[in-house]
Symmetry: C2
Subunit: 347 residues, 2 copies
């Protein structure tokens, strides 16, 4: 009874996933790719594959209903799951949403949540085709699964980056994290004095990045338009540093990232200062950006260089060089993965 | 702030699902069937469709870890989800499992759970291809999604039953429910006196039906072997009565069920008496049987009549006749759906 036990928090989420999936053997001929990328890849017809991905969203772990409106929560739950399909260079088509909730929620509250889900479905042309509902003893639990499609030859994995490939990100980084800090700060102010009104003047963009992220369907459409297939791709949910580690470890490569190239919105810069946070830290480790990180051959640079929606931030190196951040002053630092780890105490 | 609100428990699970899905419009050409059956049906190639289904399993709502071993829980979580694919006359191929759990679980406990999941995958030739992990503040949450396949013309829906079709069920009914009552009884005994050993002699079958249900892949194989396509089908998760209501309402028909035809195991009879429960009630409303309920044309009777794994229990009537149970004494009673309703207070 008193045998030593291994604690989940010592292992972390990625460690746990590695342990649980190490004995998996695949027997179905239709399974092209199982665990280990943004989505599983399943054979469909001669030209097409299906993509399957699933996410959990749990109250007080992934969201705080003190400042997350239910409609936004529904929208975000769908949006972040769709993002995983785009990260495979695919198009999401069907979604299922399961919810467990306690009786403290009214029907009207659940309908708000579903209004948000339906808005996201409508915006991204996705059909809500199923789900499950249950009560829970405490809290709200959401489980979202998306089925997507891609041409067989167009699927982009995490493991295809080659030496000297260019590394791009879409949009800007760190803003969703600063948005979260703003919401958390106002929550503390409100707790101290419930009569205080939140002070959100001029920071709408940061709040929206946190509360209502938009998956980058437009980037996938850009690839089609320019006839480009990235060599590797992943969406940025746990922070750029963590996703670079996934790309590099699966591709067995290293990378060099230039701090001065990181796309950080001026508002993120400005508000970072208020929290005494280095904007680069917000960009590298903030998480929840739901932007796309991808690598392309150097020969694709000409096609991409004038596109405002993406930014080149560095290049792929050999594995021995490791993952490096070259600072604005020209100093090189190793990039540490500090993913958004719910299972580790260090948070 | 004090506006009247609609309580979820007044609506019940099916009422809630109806409300949440009434505004859904489908835009993807690949969506053949969305919400409303055991699985969604998605176009794949010219001959084949994909089937998609998802289930939640929540601690102290769907299972009690005081008497459910984690390995069994993992097995059951997968098994009940696969059952939904068989209920469409399809073959499950891929599964994703998401878990949220608190730090009271050790790594060894989670590995036990996954051992059960992998066992079910192996037994039913299904690949575990993904999932998500998270911490939770309390309790264990499982979300399982299965992707299956069927020939386009072989998919069986709930809405295809025709008047005079014969109604069959596989296996026996009510045993999983009596198994649950036995486990609950021993839990109370243990609580009163933790030194008491559980008294499970001779009731293994009932416990196994509750703890380790097997989805009826063999019935789907039987249909192939005999070249039979049922006119409608559903799996029995909420109890025969509830599933008959689904078949009849979606097919716009009624039914006549003969009490003396209901397949009830002798052990279920015997142990029902100990709980002062009518075995017919256990069979009609117990739930968690994970047997298949299906209807066939009368002309298929010859092919099916000698199959021991299935039992004819009645026939489909016109809608105006309603759903009727003809008792052993020849008295006719209306069949009420008393599904396993987690959201209603009445339980």
């Amino acid at each position: 009874m008193d045998e030593p036990r291994n604690e989940l928090q010592d292992l972390g989420e990625f460690g746990l996933i590695d342990r649980l999936t190490e004995h998996i053997s695949l027997v179905q001929p239709s399974t092209i790719k199982g665990v280990g990328d943004d989505a599983a890849v399943i054979a469909s017809d001669d030209d097409t594959v299906k993509l399957l991905t699933t996410d959990l969203l749990i109250e007080n772990i992934h969201f705080d209903l003190m400042y997350v409106p239910l409609k936004h929560l529904g929208y975000k739950a769908a949006a972040v799951n769709l993002s995983d399909i785009y990260a495979m260079n695919g198009i999401p088509q069907q979604i299922t949403v399961s919810i467990a909730l306690s009786n403290r929620f009214s029907l009207e509250a659940v309908e708000e949540l579903y209004t948000g889900i339906r808005l996201a479905c409508k915006r991204y042309d996705v059909d809500l085709v199923g789900g499950d509902t249950s009560s829970s003893q405490t809290g709200l639990f959401l489980s979202v699964t998306t089925l997507g499609e891609a041409k067989k030859g167009e699927v982009v994995y995490r493991d295809g980056a080659k030496e000297n490939d260019l590394i791009f990100v879409s949009g800007d980084l760190g803003s969703a994290y600063i948005g979260l800090l703003l919401l958390e700060r106002e929550k503390q102010v409100f707790r101290a004095n419930p009569n205080m009104q939140p002070d959100f003047e001029g920071v709408d963009y940061l709040l929206e990045r946190q509360l209502k992220p938009e998956p980058r369907k437009d980037i996938i459409e850009m690839f089609r338009e320019l006839d480009i297939k990235p060599t590797s791709m992943i969406d940025i949910s746990d922070g750029l540093a963590s996703e670079l580690h996934h790309i590099c470890s699966q591709s067995k490569k290293g990378c060099a990232i230039y701090e001065d190239k990181l796309p950080v919105d001026p508002l993120t810069y400005q508000q970072s200062a208020a929290f005494a946070i280095d904007p680069t830290t917000a960009a590298m480790n903030g998480g929840e950006d739901y932007e796309l990180l991808f690598t392309v051959k150097q020969s694709d640079y000409e096609k991409l260089k004038d596109r405002l929606e993406i930014t080149p931030i560095g290049y792929i190196t050999d594995a021995a060089s490791g993952l490096q951040l070259i600072s604005k002053k020209g100093v090189t630092y190793p990039i540490k993965a500090q993913g958004w780890n719910h299972l580790k105490n260090e948070g």
